[in-house]
Every structure is written in structure tokens, then in C-alpha cells.
């Protein structure tokens, strides 16, 4: 079944009160939708309950995340954790290693598309909101990494244009402009994401802040963000160079066009005069 519309099943053996919730991140919210969390304005997204998202919107957006909330006591319950782990890794092969975080009586099993929270009922909502927020930042960073990764081959192709631009390259301008815009958009998205990923630890720590901090550490978000920044710089250098060369070339080209027109007119005159002269001499 299509991952976009696939709804996982609630695993058996969980205590009563266990819930499964699908969440979709959208850039706009409708009044009819149940908003689970409004992310910071800089990120500009809303976490919407899956069941309130219309089917047309489902087709357009990415596959949802699934949250499993399992009420549990303060002690670690190995059996529940095993069930939760099996649920977040349905085929036993997650894209990235599953992260298991335990602290303050809370257990969190995390993969990019599924998260299971084992916590006491009174802390569940708070924990879920914190996880949604962190997962959203992680998704944004992953999206940026994925989008940049596919641009590397284009970068290799375009690199010579940062050094030399000629008539043959003029047809590439539209592509260069599009890639340059893509890179700038990524830089803007990175700039909006950075304050949340690079935020210092808050004191005194609370459950919410600690979930965010732990997830950022485990998912190496700070390191990935810095690495992404370095990679993006390479793209910026190349495409800025391309833009500069293209702009200089097009400016010079305008002048050259005028010069060529003058040359053609002079050549035309020369041809007419030469022909006239040849005809006169011939007679």
C-alpha cells in the first residue's frame, strides 16, 4: 500500500489508554482541521491530526508521522518497550538506527517516520508536543540534506561556468538562475532552522526542554547543520561565480551586439562599393 495513505495498526499487548496518532505537517491550516501544535512562526508549519486532513491534501503532502502513546508507570517496562520498538520498525529495517531515550521515567523510541512514547498519562501530552517539535526540526533538516544531495551532479556540470561564460552557455542561464534560487531558498530555510537547532540548553531543565535537547544530541542535529552549512557554502560560491560571469557576459554581449550591427552595416557598404567598383572597372 502507498506509504502516503497507509495507516499502521495499533499493536496488541498494550495497556488500555494506548493511542496511535497520525500527524501531518502542513504550511496552511483549515478551521476544520485539528491542530496538534503550531510550530514557531519562522518554521511556518502546523502539525495537523491525520484524520482531519482531506484526501486531496494527503496526496500533495509527504507521508505522515505516526505517534504511539503508551501510558506506563515510572519503572522501565521491557515488554512494552519491545512492542513499541517492533512498532516503530515494522519491517525491521529503519532508514536510520532507532533511537531509544530513557529519562525521568519516560521512554522514547524514535525513527524518522514513527515515534513511540511511553510515559505516565499526566506527562504524555507535554512529551508528545516536545517530540513533535523536535521531529519537525529534524524533518526540515533531513529535507534540506536530501535536496542538496541531488544537486551535486549539477554542481559539477555548472562549475566551469563560474570561470568562463560564452555564447554556448547563454542557454544555460535559466537553469543557473533556477539553481541559484534553490540554493538561496535553502540558505533562508537553514537560517530559520538554525536558532532552534543551535539553541543552548535551557536552565532549569524541564521535561519538554530535555526531550528536545536529547533528541538533538542523539540525532546529531548540530553537527549535521554545521556540515550542511559548509556544503551550502560550496554551492553558493559556485553559483555566485556563475551569476557574476553570466551577468558580465550578458552586459558585454549587449555592447558587442551593437558593435556587430555597425560592422555588418560597414561590411554591407563595403560590398556595395566593391561591387560598384568592379562593375565600373569591368566596363
Amino acid at each position: 500500500m502507498n506509504e502516503r495513505n497507509h495507516t499502521p495498526e495499533l499493536p496488541a499487548g498494550l495497556p488500555s489508554g494506548s493511542q496511535m496518532q497520525g500527524i501531518r505537517l502542513t504550511t496552511r491550516r483549515d478551521p476544520s482541521q485539528r491542530v496538534l501544535l503550531d510550530l514557531p512562526a519562522a518554521i511556518g508549519r502546523h502539525a495537523i491530526a491525520e484524520e482531519t486532513v482531506e484526501s486531496s491534501q494527503r496526496e500533495q503532502s509527504e507521508a505522515p508521522w505516526w505517534f504511539l502513546s503508551v501510558p506506563s508507570g515510572p519503572a522501565e517496562e521491557v515488554e512494552l518497550l519491545t512492542i513499541a520498538r517492533a512498532w516503530v520498525e515494522p519491517d525491521g529495517q529503519a532508514d536510520r538506527p532507532t533511537q531509544v531515550i530513557m529519562f525521568q521515567g519516560l521512554q522514547l523510541v524514535w525513527t524518522p517516520r514513527r515515534v513511540a512514547i511511553l510515559a505516565s498519562p499526566d506527562r504524555m501530552d507535554m512529551a508528545r508536543r516536545a517530540v513533535i517539535e523536535s521531529a519537525c526540526f529534524e524533518t526540515e533538516l533531513s529535507d534540506l540534506e536530501r535536496e542538496l544531495a541531488v544537486l551535486w551532479p549539477d554542481l559539477s556540470t555548472d562549475m566551469p561556468l563560474a570561470f568562463e561564460f560564452n555564447e554556448r552557455s547563454v542557454r544555460q542561464r535559466r537553469n543557473l538562475l533556477r539553481r541559484f534560487q534553490q540554493i538561496l531558498m535553502m540558505r533562508a530555510r537553514l537560517a530559520r532552522l538554525s536558532p532552534f537547532v543551535l539553541a543552548p540548553h535551557i536552565h532549569p531543565p524541564t521535561l519538554t526542554t530535555q526531550i528536545g535537547e536529547r533528541l538533538r544530541e542523539r540525532l546529531r542535529m548540530t553537527h549535521r547543520l554545521e556540515a550542511f552549512d559548509v556544503q551550502l557554502e560550496v554551492f553558493e560560491r559556485v553559483y555566485e561565480g556563475c551569476g557574476q560571469r553570466a551577468s558580465e557576459f550578458m552586459l558585454a554581449r549587449t555592447g558587442h551586439t551593437l558593435e556587430w550591427i555597425i560592422i555588418i552595416l560597414l561590411l554591407t557598404q563595403t560590398i556595395l562599393v566593391s561591387v560598384d567598383l568592379m562593375m565600373t572597372l569591368g566596363k
Binding site: I264, T268, V275, M278
Partner: protein, 360 residues
Amino acid sequence: MRYVSIDLLRTVAIVMMVLVHFMENLAGSNWGVAGFGAPIFNFLVGVSYRVWLDSQEKKDIPEETIFRISLRRGLFLFVLGLAFNVFVWLPEDAFNWDVLTLIGTALLLLNFLRQIPTVISIVISLTAMVIGPFLREITDYPAYWTNGYFECDWTFSEIVMGYLSNGYFPIFPWIAYPLMGFVIASVLFEEESTEHQPTATTALIGIIMMLVTLLAVIIGPQTPMSITKSVLRGWTMFPPSIEYVMGTLGMAIMAFSLCHRWIDRAITKEPISGLLSICTTLSKYSLSMYLFHHVVHIWPLWIYGAIYGTEPTQFWRNAMPMWPAIGLAVLCLVLGCALFRWMERTKRPGLESLMRYLCG
């Protein structure tokens, strides 16, 4: 990449050319649509050059190699054109400036123009169209066409005049066709997706040019004698009047734009079958077909004239009535198709292969 629109239009031009040549050379009759084949053919030279150039650039062929191949091909066609005149039209017509020398010159010029802004090609095309009548006026064009065909002495000035303005296909104004073909193809193929190509705009430009021509043909006779005599001469192919050049160029632009819009967008998968595959074959072997149809109807004429007449050219234009000539033209087309289909199937080299072998 092969565009069916190019193959189709080139086939139309070839069919017209064969019919016209057989009717003219064997029967001495003129056909109403005689003037449409050569403009389409020359226009497609520029279009094909752009397509070839794009394929070379996609393969990352170095600039120097493209330059060298274009130069060699241009010179090859120019020399082949002169040799063709000598061997097919007899040595005294070596400098009648037929279409191959024009195409050779066009390739040499396009090789240079591809490196400068496209607008310059438009300026050169317009200049070629405009100064053509003036050059003919200065050089006394009618003096070269006293018997209804081009004749010149082998003096430097007359040879140059024939090449520039008075021959069968002089560069002024005929160079405008390949250059405009190159420009239109550059504009259309800038976008890879046919959905986004401005075919409607280019077709509209073609239609406007045709309407302007129609207007010029209508109001031409009302203008003062000085203008009618040298500039607006009405619809004539020899000499190519401004109305003729603008009208046929507009027609070529419109036909190519619409064919590209409707046919190339519709036919996306290969192999192409049926009538279109015959068009593809004829288009691939257009240079061979050009020589083939001349050889099969001109050489027998010369041989027959040499044996049964007073001179080889005695039966030129009066060998037979019109209908048998048309029948022979159709037979030539059928034989040509069969021959080139066989050559394609058995991978026999044509003149095109020789050109690629020699020039790269």
C-alpha cells in the same frame, strides 16, 4: 535527436524539387509551386545545424572540434557544389552557383554566427534580403539571364557577381533562409520541453510575414516605377524579389513551427513506421537524393543529345511533353525511395556518410 517535422518538411521540399526539375529540364514547363521547395530546404539547413549543434554540445564535444567539423563540412559542400556543376551541368556551368555552394557557404557562416548573439543572424538575414535588389540593380542582373537561364563569363568580377547576387542561388538574399532557420530553431529548442516552446509565437511571425508579402504584392504595382523596377518587383523566384523571399520565409517559419508543435509533440516514441519512416529515410539521404535525381535525368539528356543531336544540351527543356516528365519524376522518387531504404537497411554508405567520414 531526429524531429519528424524536419524530415516531413524536407521530404515535401525534395518531392517538389524532383518534380520541378524534371518538368523544367525535360519539358521546359514551369509549375506554380516551383518556388517553394528551395526555401523550405534551405531553411531546414539552419534548423538541422542547430539540432546537430545541440547534440554536439550535449555530448560535451569541445568547441574546436565543432568548429573544425563545421568548417570541413561547409568546404566539402562548397567544393561538391562546384564539382556537381562541372560533372552534371557540364564544365561551362561550373560557376552557375547552385544550391550546394549556397549551403556550403551557409554552414561556414553559421559556424561563425553560432558564437555571437542570435540577433546578429537576424540582422544579416534582413540585410541580405534588402541589399539583394540593389546589388542586382548595380550588376545588371538581366544581362546574365538573357536566355532564361544564368550565364556568365569566366572573369573574376562576373564569377563574384554570380556568387553574390546573380547566380541561381546567390548568397544575397538566399543566405537569409538558413540563417533564419538557425534563429527559429535556437528560439524553439532553447526549452527542452515542447510544451514550453514558443511555437505559436514563431508561427504567428511567419503568418505576419506572409500577410505583409500579400500586401506588398497587392500594393506593389501602385507604387512609383523606380520602386517597382528594383525593389517591389512582384512574386519572382529568378530574381528572388523581396516579396518572394519574405513570403516563402514566412511560410517556412510557419510550416516548421506548426509541424513541430503538432507532429513532434504527438510522436514521441521510435521506431517510426509507415509514410513517416519513408520521410525519415529521404531526409537522411537528402544530399544523395539531390545528386541522384539530377544524374538520372540530366546525364541521359546529355548523352542522348551528344549521340542524336548537334550538341549535348540540344534536348534540354524540350526532350518530351510535360506529363511524361511528371511520370518520370514520380518513377525517380519511387526508385530513389527504394534505393535509399535498401541502403539504410544494408548500411550502405551514401554521400552523407562520405561527408561524415571526411569531415567528422
